[in-house]
Symmetry: C2
Subunit: 284 residues, 2 copies
């Protein structure tokens, strides 16, 4: 595994791989790798010739009061996991290399960046779209891999790749969960043991929604109310949003008919967690 810190160096490396006819898969991450990330790496290895993993805690996607500085970091552990999964290129750029003095160009995917998580994190997806644009240009991958846990992010990146004519296939892989259903996330490391128990309420509330919708409930308001009731019963939790929307455009759905995205953001103590499920219309 080649470990590369400089953008110019990984660009040269990618160019060489392309000239040799290799296809490159990119797994962009913020590090503190868990089984969710590893499932993306494995899929990249399965369907592309060379796999690059980037680890970069991207300041542009954090708000001023968010957890940029305390976001968990473990480069050594991450490198070990990358080596074990036989990653070819590990890219570890510095903030100065990615955002040198004077940087002022940003990418916006309008109308998708202001819903769900975008409501409370107004510049978050601008930061995501910008770093992904940069990484696509730096590494020039053929395919890039993202997790469904960040459903809105994945949608935005798909849109961006199409709209800006990147010839990059965006592959979205299923959410990987702990045994009790909690979606894997680097931020789970913030939870103390009581909070860890409380955090199960996210997936439980999604399962409640799925049960109701499969049993024929068509009124989003009813589903949301029941989810709210369940989560409210968990003392240390605070709902940021419960959204029932069209998985194609994230527009709110009032009366459930076809496919539906149920997405939530819940604070467990001082930790903000998100999760979502898609319930297919044709399976009801």
């Amino acid at each position: 595994m080649k470990v590369i810190e400089k953008t110019a160096e990984i660009s040269a490396c990618s160019r060489e791989l392309h000239l040799r006819g290799e296809a490159i898969g990119l797994v962009p991450t913020m590090g503190f790798l868990h089984d969710g990330h590893l499932s993306l790496i494995r899929e990249s290895k399965r369907i592309t010739g060379k796999t690059a993993v980037s680890i970069f805690v991207n300041p542009a996607q954090f708000g001023p009061k968010e957890d940029y500085h305390r976001y968990p970091r473990d480069i050594e552990g991450d490198a070990k996991k990358c080596r074990e999964t036989e990653v070819d290129l590990l890219f570890l750029p510095s903030v100065e290399d990615i955002y040198p003095e004077g940087h002022r160009t940003y990418v916006d995917v309008e109308g998708l960046n202001d819903k769900l998580c975008g409501r409370s994190r107004p510049k978050h997806f601008r930061g995501v779209a910008t770093i992904v644009t940069k990484l696509f240009n730096i590494i020039m991958p053929d395919k890039a891999f993202f997790g469904q846990k960040d459903y809105q992010q994945a949608m935005i990146i798909k849109r961006l790749a199409t709209d800006l004519n990147f010839g990059v296939d965006i592959i979205v892989m299923p959410t990987i969960r702990e045994a009790d259903g909690l979606a894997m996330s680097s931020r789970n490391s913030y939870l103390n043991s009581n909070e860890r128990v409380a955090a199960r309420i996210l997936y439980r509330s999604l399962m409640l929604a799925e049960d109701m919708i499969r049993s024929g409930e068509v009124t989003s308001g009813e589903v949301r109310a029941k989810m709210e009731g369940l989560i409210a019963g968990e003392g240390s939790s605070k709902i940021e949003y419960i959204s029932i929307s069209d998985p194609g455009n994230l527009e709110d759905i009032e009366t459930i008919a076809g496919d539906v995205l149920v997405a939530i953001a819940v604070w467990i103590g001082k930790t903000r967690l998100i999760d979502n499920i898609i319930i297919k219309g044709d399976k009801r």
Copy 2:
């Protein structure tokens, strides 16, 4: 000369050229080609292996009350000029191919897009930055060529290319002028014969500024006042802006010291014209 209308087709063509080791120069235009464009094409031919010219009147860079629909078009004449200057690839995409249904991703170069022309044309440079990003991804040029007449545009594109890690050299070529000094522009075709005479006032006012500054005038306000007086004497003209600024960041300069950009936008009847000169500090 290959004439190509589809983005997928020109991308495939570019990829093939790159695999053969050819460097590609791109001259992005909105057509109605004049000697300014041809100077860019000639420079591209001089320093790159293959030259691509794109002609696309980009709706995203026009405001709702601007001249998108009446912008001059002459594809046949343009193709002839491209053939004569031995362009290799002429790219003529449709609006539907560039902005298919659902397009919603835009690129902003903040802090440069809101000055000078950006004041009266608030989304203009967002449209420019977006189409250039798309063309860079579609054609994957090694170098791209722009005219100094659109100085702010050239600056924004340079910044964009750096900030989004495009490995594209941005080459800015001098403004090409008519015998009486009028900067060449496709929009000059809007002028009737009286207006064509009146339009000389732009370059004359820039020459006045240059004389004053070379003679030791250091107060921008004085220079602007004299330019205003000169232009006001030309009945059919209306000043949109006269800007004396730092050519590095477009910030207004009050007291002139080093290099200085003098840029103007003036309406001649119903036609908005722009022009600029850079006066070097070390030559005074």
